[in-house]
Structure formats: C-alpha cells, structure tokens
Symmetry: C2
Subunit: 190 residues, 2 copies
C-alpha cells in the first residue's frame, strides 16, 4: 500500500447529454464526498479540474471555510479530508502535479459507457502493483463522462461498475467510492 | 444472486454529535444517490425511514417530480431508480415490509465506530449465501450513526469501512455504495 495515487474529478473536457464537449459546474457535494473517500483510501491529493477561474476560486472558498474557518473547529475530520483538495486548471496540469520530479503517472480512466476496450479490476490491481514506483492518477468524469480523447490516451481504462444487473447510472460520488475500494482496500478487508 | 434485499436509510433513532438520540432531516441528495446505488445492485426497495410525516411527504414530493413529472421525461434512468424509494415511519415498519408474507429478514447494520463485535465482509457474504430464502435488510445511519439498540438487535453488524489507513469518515452515500459492492457485486466484477 505504499503506492502514491491521486484522484481527479474532471469538469472539462467532458461529454454533455448529446455527446458534445462541455464544461460542467463544480458542486459543493462532489468536493466533500470525494475528498472524504480519497482521504479514506490514502490519496495524496484530490484534484478538482476546471478551466474556469471563478470555479476554482469557489473551491478555494469552500476549502477556506472548512480548513481554516468555523468548519475546521466544528468538524475537524472534515478539514483533514479537504486539506488534500487542489483546484487545478487542466488534466495536463494534474498529470504534471502528480509527476512532480518523479516518474510518469499511470493515468487511469473510468466510464459508465462502453465503446473502448476495458480493463477488469483484478487486472488493474495487478498492473498497478507491477509498477509501484509510478504514481497513479485516476480521472473521473462529470456530466455524461470523460471526453473520448482522455480515455484514448489513458494507460488503463477501467470497466464500468456493474451491480449484477443492467442498470448503470451511479452518481460519480458513488462510482469514485466503489472504484477506490476495488483498487486500494486491503485484500482482507473486502 | 437471486437474493431479495432492501436498503434503508435511518433518520431515527440515530446518534447526535454528543451521543444522544436524535432525528435527522431527509436530504435530497441521500434520496438520489442511494436510490441509484440500490438500483444498480438490485435492491427491491430503498426505505427512507423517518417518523416525521412532513419529511415523508417531502420524499413523496421529490419522487413525484422524478417519477411522474418533468424529471421523468428528462432523465428516465433517474425515475427507474427513484421508483423503488419508499418513505416509511420506522425501522419496525421497514422490517415488516421486507418480511411481507415470507420469512424473517436478516437485519444487517453498519457503523463507522466500533464498540460492538463486527462481522467481516467475506463472512457476511457467506452467512447471507447460507440462507438465500430470507431477505436481507441493510440499515444505514445518518447523523453520527445508528442507535445502539438497533445494532444490538441486528443479526449481522458489519465491520467499518477501512481504506488501509486510520481515517474513517466517509459520507453515508459513499459507505452505502461500497458496502453494496462488497456484498452484492458479482465476484468476477470486483
């Protein structure tokens, strides 16, 4: 479990309902829920990716309240999770931040829809374990999912979450929680 | 995977920050996110448990919009999930509804804190598999967790979700998603 990994929620480029590329809005709840899940499984940072400066400022405002303001005093475990949130302008910038001075990150994408070849979770765990020195960067899409260009460039594209049936419309917050658990929970805990 | 199971979010009796028993408010997002996760893993119903009639009416109002109103036309997959949501007045009533004319439900509780003996996930899966004819009813707590009286009466009390570290403050929405995945995902999918 010494692997370094990063979680990123992508607000651009993502697909809209008609398949076109859009920029979605940041939501307070995606910041909170995903920060808590990322902290639970030991992510270094949770990148909130949006090219819109005012949206990144909104994230900073939320973080200020919970990490330094009244929220930090009232719910200290919340600031512990939110202190790892980093608003950032692009996927490229998130990759560079995950890289730092070290090796190239393994970019991992996720999608509810198919259309690209996918990697199952047991194989994904094995491939991450085979290169423990490289950080992993997990990209999650808002809206109707990550843009094809992101999925096409990823080293690992995870299979959609299935619950045994045909329904495949989880909230992104739920999908992040399940995927972190599948990839990073201790084997004996699951 | 023929097991019948039910998910329930308990707003009373649950613990407040100081450990006293309180009634929490229904939130729109708990209704949506947990309905989608419950539908993904094949739950029969998702019970939203609150003794406050006005809160149950609020849930009915949300369901009306998404199952019959504009929401149903705009996002049909959302109504598919929300059509299984049932507001109900008490844990007892949820147990009775899960029982119906059939065998007694296996009541399963969950908590982030310890203090009670817990069952690991592999053992929980085995115990559920051993009695496939009995429905399972999974109780999740809001606030600071299920009241002790509920945990003490449960047949299975699941271990807290650990991510490999010491941080243990997931959103209930995330905990529901992870626990449904651990209990009900197809073995090969995980």
């Amino acid at each position: 479990m010494a692997r370094r990994f990063y979680v990123a929620l992508v607000h651009h480029p993502v697909r809209g309902r008609d398949g076109g590329i859009i920029t979605t809005s940041v939501t307070n709840l995606d910041v909170h829920d995903i920060a808590r899940a990322a902290r639970t499984y030991g992510a270094e940072h949770y990148f909130v990716i949006t090219p819109i400066e005012a949206q990144r400022a909104l994230v900073e405002h939320i973080l200020g309240y919970w990490c330094e303001g009244d929220g930090a005093r009232r719910v200290p475990e919340r600031s512990e999770a939110l202190s790892r949130v980093v608003p950032i302008e692009s996927v490229e910038a998130a990759i560079a931040a995950a890289r730092g001075e070290g090796p190239e990150p393994i970019v991992v994408t996720t999608a509810a829809r198919s259309g690209f070849p996918v990697t199952g979770y047991a194989e994904a765990r094995a491939r991450l374990a085979a290169e423990p020195e490289r950080p992993a960067l997990l990209l999650f899409g808002t809206g109707y999912g990550l843009a094809d260009e992101l999925i096409a460039r990823a080293e690992i594209h995870l299979a959609p979450i299935r619950g045994g049936g045909d329904y495949n419309h989880l909230a992104v917050r739920s999908a992040v929680a399940i995927i972190l658990d599948r990839l990073f929970a201790l084997e004996g805990d699951r």
